[in-house]
């Protein structure tokens, strides 16, 4: 059974993007790096918000846990930063599991309020130098640059490839996840919880799974953020960060990876282009959201229906 060749403009987009850095100065490459990081964060949040329909306004907490895990293990125990990548994901996922477990049954707005609380608690804990290892409001500095095969990644141009390859891996992983039994279960919960139970889906456990996967991925992104900045502090993980990630998902199209990447470009990239108008940024932000909600309530690129290869089945069993 051969799959029909499906053409996704996303791959063309990636090819174009990968050809860009040599033509750009480090400043603009760094902008692209930020876009990439937020695209990854957006995609990880998209699983929770877009696919499972759970409002999460505390995603920065998981991002922070990943970043701080990496920073602490690297500066205190001198572990190579990229080797901590899986561990940063694991800690963030474990944290999400422990925190969300008791409150996962909350619905809609109530869950949203609690996630805001979680985000703030984590930030305040970091500011107050919890366990004496987070460095308070100064944060942690001196985080090592990543080293791959004896080659140190230092300049924005080098980071570009690290971040954007990680983004491609993210896209592949989350696309596969979407197009599977698990992805469908997430969507079922979003569309109708009672009917989802009626299909034998353990709603609470799948909601938790969505949170843990999203948090794990945000944690790994935190690792890359930490090594890119070499210094992290609580202000990088404020409530505003969570709002930005949330806006990226909603603006781009909840449940759509392509939309989330576009959203990251708009929210992170555009303010850089219109730097002179930065004082009006919030105003434009708000206006854009209002217009979007009126004109395209499902986002710029709403998710398409997934297609399945049934042609051969149709032909075999009965004529159409």
């Amino acid at each position: 059974m051969k799959r029909p060749v499906s053409f996704n403009p996303l791959w063309v987009f990636f090819i174009v993007i990968f050809a860009l850095p040599p033509l750009l100065d480090p400043y603009w490459v760094d902008v692209l790096n930020n876009v990439g990081l937020y695209a990854i964060l957006g995609i990880s949040l998209n699983l929770i918000v877009g696919h499972t329909g759970l409002f999460n306004l505390g995603h920065a907490a998981f991002y922070a846990i990943g970043a701080y895990t990496s920073a602490i293990l690297n500066t205190k125990y001198h572990m190579p930063i990229l080797s901590i990548l899986p561990l940063s994901g694991f800690t963030a996922g474990l944290f999400a599991f422990m925190v969300m477990r008791p409150i996962i049954h909350l619905r809609g707005d109530y869950l949203c309020i609690v996630t805001i609380g979680v985000g703030e608690i984590v930030r305040i804990a970091l500011v107050n130098n919890i366990f004496g290892i987070t460095g308070g409001s100064n944060g942690i500095f001196g985080i090592a640059r990543p080293e791959l095969f004896g080659y140190v990644i230092r300049s924005p141009h080098q980071f570009f490839y690290l971040i954007w390859i990680f983004l491609i891996i993210t896209v592949v992983v989350f696309k596969r996840l979407e197009h599977s039994r698990v992805g469908r279960a997430f969507n079922c919960i979003r569309d109708d919880e009672i009917a989802a139970q009626g299909c034998g889906i353990n709603v609470a456990s799948y909601k938790l799974t969505a949170f843990v996967i999203g948090a794990t991925w945000a944690g790994m992104t935190g690792n890359i953020f930490a090594t890119k900045m070499t210094i992290i502090s609580p202000e990088s993980f404020s409530f505003w960060e969570s709002v930005i990630m949330f806006t990226i998902v909603i603006l781009g199209g909840a449940g759509s990876i392509e939309g989330t990447i576009i959203g990251a470009f708009l929210i992170i990239g555009l303010p850089e282009i219109f730097r002179d108008l930065s004082s009006a940024r919030m105003l434009v932000f708000g206006l854009a959201m209002v217009i979007m909600m009126i004109l395209r309530p499902r986002g710029l690129i709403p998710p398409k229906l997934r297609s399945y290869n049934v042609r051969s089945i149709l032909e075999r069993d009965y004529s159409v």
Partner: protein
């Protein structure tokens, strides 16, 4: 053999007694109808059987096992599937995916399987897509497989709900007003479909307001009024039962 036994269940909401000491049994391989005027507690009984509500008193026994305290998703796995009075489809998913979701409790693939796409995961997925298409063919809406579920007509949405329920490979299928919103021709086809479902060895329990449908296919009818059972028997017996005529057919039936 008795497949499902509802034993003296009572459920109150605040001061309202929605279901009062109701018992009945469903024979394996039969088609049983649950009727009664609006607000008689029929859907509440269904919600108790399928684990959405817990009864205050009483017991639900399925296949000789008590399922009273089981959760909804566990009950489906035991073999009770249902459709809903107000259609509850996954509106943003395609018709085919709605049925595929029904296979959830009979498949195993998990997060790592989804990401790494092991050969056995692909095989499971391919098999289920095929079975889903067969089920869509069985209810007669396979040509709409790649449309969004919300774009189907009302009658077809009901059929899709049935296909999704069948995907969970149930022993007992519970239909809550399957003919609701259907025209004459559609409900005639529905009657035939319900018979074909029974011929697959699936027991059917249904709530229905359309008396033609109930009297035509049910072998046994249970009548509820104000949360209590007032009669039980064959359609012929029910038609002659004076309490039923007074409570239900007498007031409502004359208009028909």
């Amino acid at each position: 053999m008795i497949l499902l036994a509802v034993q003296r269940i009572t459920k109150t909401f605040g001061g309202l007694v929605a279901v009062n000491n109701v018992s009945f049994e469903v024979e394996s391989g039969s088609i049983v109808g649950l009727i009664g005027p609006n607000g008689a507690g029929k859907t509440t009984v269904f919600n108790i059987i399928t684990g959405i509500y817990r009864p205050d008193k009483g017991e639900i026994v399925f296949n000789g096992q008590s399922i009273t305290l089981k959760k909804s998703h566990e009950i489906v796995k035991q073999g009770i599937a249902r459709t809903f009075q107000t259609i509850r489809l996954f509106s943003q998913l395609s018709v085919l995916e709605n049925v595929l979701s029904g296979f959830h409790c009979r498949t195993k693939s998990w997060v790592f399987g989804a990401i790494f796409r092991f050969p056995w995961e692909r095989r499971e997925e391919r098999q289920k897509v095929e079975e889903a298409m067969k089920l869509l063919h069985f209810v007669g809406i396979e040509r709409y497989y790649n449309l969004p579920a919300s774009s189907l007509s009302y009658g077809n949405q009901r059929l899709l709900e049935i296909a999704r329920a069948l995907a969970t490979s149930p022993q007992l299928l519970i239909l809550d007003e399957p003919a609701g919103g259907m025209n004459e021709k559609e409900s005639a086809e529905l009657i035939e479909l319900i018979r074909r479902i029974r011929d697959r060895g699936i027991t059917v329990l249904l709530i229905e307001h359309d008396m033609n449908v109930v009297m035509d296919i049910c072998e046994k009818v249970v009548v509820l009024e104000y949360g209590s059972k007032i009669a039980e028997g064959t359609p012929e017996e029910i038609k002659r039962n004076p309490r039923v005529i007074e409570a239900y057919l007498g007031t409502d039936g004359e208009e028909r």
